[in-house]
Symmetry: C3
Subunit: 201 residues, 3 copies
């Protein structure tokens, strides 16, 4: 397991846990919680792969579903301990958001689509899983109202595009882009940044 894998798995775990927590708050059963966790963790990447006509990544590598299962078991059995780390969950979620966005952009560029489309695919990879989770649980998607989330992916994607156009080394581009997403997301949480709300005419 490389360092990159570790980050990927941390992000998957954090995303899955957010779906499982929400499912528990709605009294879903074990199966429902697993699906809610799974769609949060892999839904965004699946949407990206369907649009890019690639096989969904989780069908080739069972790690992602395994991590979702581990997330569910840890939620059930590590209950009390979990309360203590709940405050750190948004940090792991932000790591996942940053990592997924960059993976999504890179995987999209590898299929030769335009850079602006790759930025959108990166945003889907990072943020669409949570939207699909909210649809599945019959909630209004949180990210359309509550705070800066998908917007962090877009800004990180623009950073990627600028550095990419300067022919900077691939790893550096990815790293700076991911840090951009992460920092914006964490600052948005800390200072409660929000986008302007649309006014009804």
């Amino acid at each position: 397991m490389t360092f990159i894998d570790a980050i990927d798995y941390i992000g998957t775990y954090a995303f899955a846990l957010s779906g499982i927590k929400l499912a528990a708050s709605k009294k879903f059963d074990l199966f429902g919680a697993f699906i809610a966790g799974g769609i949060t963790a892999i839904g965004g990447g699946t949407l990206r792969d369907l649009i890019l006509d690639l096989p969904p990544f989780w069908i080739i590598d069972y790690s992602y579903l395994l991590i979702t299962l581990i997330a569910m078991l840890s939620y059930i059995f590590l209950g009390r301990f979990f309360h203590c780390i709940t405050n750190t969950l948004p940090i792991f979620d932000a790591i996942g958001l940053a990592f997924f966005t960059v993976v999504g952009i890179q995987k999209s560029l590898d299929t030769n689509i335009a850079i602006w489309a790759a930025i959108i695919m990166g945003m889907f990879t990072g943020a669409a899983g949570g939207v699909l989770r909210d649809i599945l649980l019959n909630d209004q998607p949180m990210i359309f109202k509550d705070d800066i989330y998908a917007t962090a992916c877009i800004v990180g994607g623009i950073a990627f595009a600028i550095l990419y156009s300067l022919n900077i080394q691939s790893f550096i581009v990815q790293l700076i882009s991911a840090i951009t997403v992460f920092v914006i997301r964490v600052l948005a949480l800390k200072y409660k940044w929000r986008l302007p709300v649309m006014r009804k005419l």
Copy 2:
């Protein structure tokens, strides 16, 4: 029409009818009811085909949409008679669930994906149509809370995998797997089996 076709059509009819009944309870119009019936009957297989990058099965063979139409017409015109058979509907639904699961697994294996992924595809084929119906009708998906449904597909899928690994004849594998799904589903209904509910921490 072979015996297999007959089972396929019975399952499609039962699934479509469940969507149409729900649509009627929400005062959908004829078009809405048709779509609700159609998505229940063909939604799961369509999701499977999109993931496996196959053309959706109902676009090649119009039987499935025709059966959805017949289900709607029978609901409208055979109303009173229908009340009598409503109690048998869950049996037909269980037949559909069992059959769709096995078809989904077999069709997935034919594309050379791993057996664990094929089990998930079988579960999608059987159970995702109902989830898509609930999303479309703006309900919380029933199968995440109420009883054993998708879990029956999973158990039947595991039975399939075990027998398959023993190199047993294909037809026998499919038959036993389908019976497993059917029996679990019917017992779950009769004895009100449920999965444990997630507790909120």
Copy 3:
């Protein structure tokens, strides 16, 4: 920009605006409104392209997302002026519906699917964007209850199929089919036509 492009863009603009208006009424933020507008405008065609295994049209040509952005900016900055033209919006929406339906049918036929399947794809192209918008905003899809919308696409599609089978010139087939959708939609609005509602048994 050809005449055809102009109609395409008018339809996209009208569809996007309907999503943005609904998002504003639910107090979505700028990002949420953009996504709501985008899914209304491009969701139907995207569903069609995924089913037909084509690359989604908006990933090849950024015009559609640009028009969605323009729709959002015009909603924000032209507020008061907008009130005056709100009454004409349904007309533009009907233009979009007619145009998208015909484009969807034609694009589907080019992939050699059967004509009845192409009619359904045309209906998806025209009407599914609004359904996806309603799902995203956690509403019950409007078109299943309120008036004649997708049905206009179906009738226009049948007109297309009849003329197509008579080997009439392609442009004439498309024009008459589009006019059929448009006229039915506008008459349905004016005279409040509705489909019969399903009765609960």
